[in-house]
């Protein structure tokens, strides 16, 4: 567990334990008695005997600091425990009521939540002050006030956890076995909510410490001479103005440290409870030496004449780890369609993004080149790259709906894209976008241009992306699972449309997919990717009829099992060969 923590987290943990120890034994180890006044030593500035000085009563500030966390932390911990004890069961009940079949019960739950809205609308601090004022100052009343103010937090948290947990199979199974729903909530679901609750507990304790100190600061909480941080700051407040800063400064720093440590502990607890949070992606190359020489040789080779795209010895890595892609090389001729197949996680999407130079966070090119029409894309400056991307190289990415910005109208995106690469007025761009939608068979273009992405179906969104991809008649399209997330009939329509239009405009295409059926039907050549390496490459017919690599055979077997979505593998791209 220790090894999973960063250095920062370890420091937090150490401070946390220190705070707990001081809270436990503080009053007994303070160098001076923390509550005995010494009029001769009033407001002594920090020196050897009193490293943090003394306060207006002549009490050593350090001693009071060591004794004080006991009060603050104890109040906060007890109050938070109390608010969990009240909030969590109510949360289970609220979650139970909300999911219930009977309408009246749902209303009760809804009503409870609106009631909580109102309770939380009240000024927390003043509410706590009033509660303390009603019952008089003193630690016990502060505990009740702080607990009352915080319990809605836990009620809401547990309720929302219940709502998501009750969807799980084991909850349904437990109910099916004849347990009452409420019982299941307490017995099976609540324990599963504890991790989330525990994170919140840590944060809330920090907040409760602040609230306790704030109450004491205005004299509505713990009152002197009990050592308490807020009261200490209050007693030092007037001396801040006159220059005796140490009286209030150190308690505040300690208070900040305590609150921060509890909040940070919440993060750490959350991190530790999330399983596999730091797991390194498992699939990795066994050794780089296996392919390195070949990759080097290929990287040095010049790109083929008149190839649209030449990839040479491309290696991509996530900083410091073994490469995700290694020694990938291929050429793509104008109008050619290259299928890139592989199991999920073989590096197809990374290859696509590497060609587009859109690797994003954490990934970088370690070796190799991507030449587009003889130009090394890696060497282009930002501006030239922007001019090529989206105009000459077009991406077509999976799950088109998530590729469209939910808050940007389809028309605005298309207009911006057209105008990014062509000088024209907004109106001209709009007209062109409408024509383009018409060209790919979308009727009522104006309606769809005014639509937001959430109004589009998956197929419609992918068609819009297709229109975007083709509007500048690019020589190269890079497609990554363009049919992912579409249902089977729509898949077929979109693919047919895409291939036909690419054919018309003479665009070359890299088509990454996991379905060999698609490759068999639409591609000229195929490259099989496995663990970041191209293990096999050749014409579709050769590769599919005489697979040499185990992964290829597996993919073929899988395709045969699911041959429903596309044509049989024997129909080798006869349709598309020019």
């Amino acid at each position: 567990m220790w090894s999973r923590l960063s250095r920062f987290d370890r420091a937090v943990l150490v401070v946390f334990v220190l705070i707990l120890i001081i809270a436990a034994i503080g009053p007994f180890v303070a160098p001076y008695p923390p509550t005995v006044a010494d009029p001769l030593q009033r407001l002594v500035s920090p020196n050897g005997a009193h490293p943090f000085g003394t306060d207006e009563n002549g009490i050593d500030v350090l001693s009071r600091l060591i004794a004080a966390p006991r009060t603050d932390v104890l109040i906060a911990v007890i109050a938070t425990t109390l608010s969990v004890a009240i909030g969590a069961p109510l949360g289970v009940v609220a979650g139970y009521f909300e999911g219930a079949d009977r309408r009246a019960m749902r209303w009760i739950s809804e009503g409870t939540l609106r009631l909580l809205d109102v309770i939380q609308a009240f000024p927390v601090f003043i509410l706590a002050m009033v509660l303390v004022a009603i019952h008089g100052t003193g630690p016990v009343n502060v505990v009740f006030a702080v607990a009352f103010v915080n319990f809605p937090v836990f009620l809401r948290l547990v309720r929302s956890e219940m709502l998501s947990l009750r969807e799980h199979l084991y909850a349904e199974a437990a109910v099916a076995l004849g347990n009452s729903e409420l019982g299941v909530g307490f017995k099976h679901l609540l324990p599963n909510a504890w991790p989330t609750v525990l994170v919140q507990v840590s944060v809330t304790i920090g907040f409760a410490v602040l609230l306790t100190a704030g109450l004491s600061f205005v004299g509505a909480g713990v009152s002197p001479p009990t050592p308490e941080l807020g009261a200490m700051i209050a007693s030092g407040a007037k001396f801040m103005i006159t220059g005796q800063w140490w009286v209030a400064m150190f308690p505040g720093l300690l208070l900040g440290l305590i609150v921060f440590t509890f909040a940070a502990m919440g993060d750490i607890v959350g991190k530790l409870m999330e399983p596999g949070q730091r797991a390194i992606p498992s699939r990795r190359l066994l050794s780089n030496a296996r392919i390195a020489p070949a990759a080097q040789a290929e990287a040095a080779a010049p790109s083929a004449q008149d190839a649209v795209l030449s990839v040479r010895g491309l290696a991509i890595e996530a900083s410091g780890r073994p490469p995700i892609l290694d020694g990938v090389s291929f050429d793509l001729m104008p109008g050619e369609i290259l299928g890139v197949v592989g199991l999920p996680g073989s590096g197809k999407s990374i290859l696509v993004r590497a060609i587009l130079r859109l690797l994003g966070h954490g990934l970088q090119r370690r070796a190799g080149h991507v030449f587009f029409r003889g130009k090394d894309l890696a060497e282009l400056d930002e501006k030239t790259l922007r001019a090529i991307r989206g105009c000459e190289i077009l991406p077509l990415l999976p799950n088109a709906k998530s590729q469209l910005n939910p808050l940007v109208r389809v028309g605005d995106l298309m207009v911006a894209h057209i105008r990014a690469h062509n000088r024209c007025s907004r109106r001209e761009a709009h007209a062109r976008a409408a024509r383009m939608l018409g060209a790919i068979g979308i009727g009522d273009a104006e309606h769809w241009l005014a639509a937001y992405p959430h109004e589009l179906s998956g197929g419609m969104a992918q068609r819009v992306c297709l229109a975007i991809a083709l509007v500048h008649r690019p020589p190269l399209i890079i497609a990554d699972e363009p049919t992912a997330g579409l249902d089977v009939t729509v898949q077929r329509q979109v693919l047919d449309l895409m291939i036909e239009l690419c054919h018309q405009s003479g665009a070359a295409q890299v088509l990454a997919t996991r379905e060999l059926g698609i490759v068999a039907h639409y591609c000229h050549r195929v490259a099989v990717l496995d663990e970041g390496l191209i293990v096999e490459m050749g014409s579709v017919r050769d590769v599919l009829l005489a697979p040499r690599h185990a992964v290829t055979r597996r993919l073929i077997a899988a395709a045969d099992l699911r041959a429903v979505s596309t044509a049989p593998t024997t129909n080798t791209s006869s349709k598309m060969v020019p």
């Binding site: 000024p123 505040g252 469209l404």
Partner: protein, 343 residues
């Protein structure tokens, strides 16, 4: 049309909420030990006066009637009287509200003008010096924000900028002792002084406002800062931003469109914080001796003056509910998905 319907529905929720608030404030005083009329008049008032008030407030009738009487008084703007100042609570609150609102507005302005841009910059993955510097700042701020108590931070600022450096005035309120407040137009001294063309007063009001506003922005801007940063980071890393980059859209457009997506959660958190502040910034007012409604409430609690507390709690709760309403409406306007779901 859809908008109107939504606003209508949202306002409909407001009505029971306001009723609930009035019930809570009503019971709040009933929960106190002792007689409400006695509480309102204070321990020094003669018994006949208490008796008279009890009759006036219809406290001798059963509880439901008492509540109705309370509602009627509220609707007439009668919040009771403070026995300490023997003044009308409604009047007191009205006089003091601008100080609190000015503080909240100034603090939120600092958050929006200085902290939000830093949060946006620090979210960008760029390797430029500006992005790197803002990332450092935001890391450090992330550690401090939320952990430092506002009342203590205010004191430290006073110590540094008043006692040591002498750059700012001490905690003497909204103006120096000898300054006269400007003619009241908005109640915000900074604005009123400018309107009156009185630049000395303007400077004085601004310098008195600076430290409390910075304290408020630093302590309560934390959640806003973190949310803006997190949602901008998420937006920049999302599929649609990568796609927009892949289409070669201008950098400006890509960033602006990412910001659109970062806006809704940021607006929500800003609303929650702003709604909390009227009742939450009371300690800042206390530390800086600003004569706002928060300090009024704190003073009233220490003198067991319950009519002002009841009034303050009511006003603060209504303020929060109103801010939530505005946030919901903004949300409705910014995000077409919300409007789709709502109708």
């Amino acid at each position: 049309m859809r908008t109107l319907k939504y606003i209508g529905r949202r306002l409909l929720v407001l009505v029971p909420q306001l009723f609930l608030i009035s019930i809570v404030t009503f019971t709040l005083v009933r929960m106190l030990p002792g007689d409400p009329a006695r509480l309102e008049l204070g321990p020094l008032a003669p018994e006949e006066g208490v008796e008279l008030l009890r009759h006036q407030l219809r406290l001798d009738e059963p509880l439901p009637q008492q509540y109705i009487a309370y509602l009627q008084r509220l609707l007439q703007g009668d919040f009771g009287r403070s026995w300490v100042n023997s003044s009308s609570v409604a009047q007191d609150l009205l006089v003091r509200a601008p100080a609190t609102l000015e503080l909240i507005t100034a603090g939120m302005l600092i958050v929006l003008v200085i902290m939000v841009p830093i949060a946006l910059l620090s979210a960008s993955p760029s390797r430029g010096w500006l992005a790197r510097a803002t990332r450092r700042v935001s890391f450090g701020y992330g550690l401090l924000a939320g952990a430092l108590p506002d009342f203590w931070l205010g004191l430290v600022l006073i110590f540094v900028f008043f006692s040591v450096l002498g750059w700012a005035p001490g905690p003497e309120g909204r103006l120096a002792i000898l300054d006269l407040p400007p003619a009241r137009v908005t109640g915000f001294y900074v604005v009123d002084a400018l309107l009156a063309g009185n630049f000395d007063t303007f400077e004085s009001a601004l310098s008195h406002l600076a430290l409390p506003a910075v304290t408020l922005a630093f302590v309560y801007g934390g959640p806003i800062f973190k949310m803006v940063r997190a949602s901008m980071e998420a937006a920049l890393r999302s599929d649609y931003t990568i796609y927009a980059e892949g289409l070669g859209l201008p950098r400006r457009t890509v960033l602006l469109w990412a910001m659109r997506n970062a806006a809704p959660p940021a607006v929500v958190v800003t609303g929650v914080v702003a709604g909390y502040l009227l009742g939450g910034a009371v300690l800042i007012e206390t530390v800086f001796n600003l004569n706002g409604i928060g300090r009024y409430a704190v003073q009233s609690i220490t003198t067991a003056d319950y009519a002002p507390i009841q009034g303050f709690v009511l006003v603060a709760a209504v303020f929060t509910v109103m801010v939530n309403l505005i946030v919901d409406l903004l949300q409705f306007m910014i995000d077409p998905r919300v409007s789709a779901r709502a109708s």
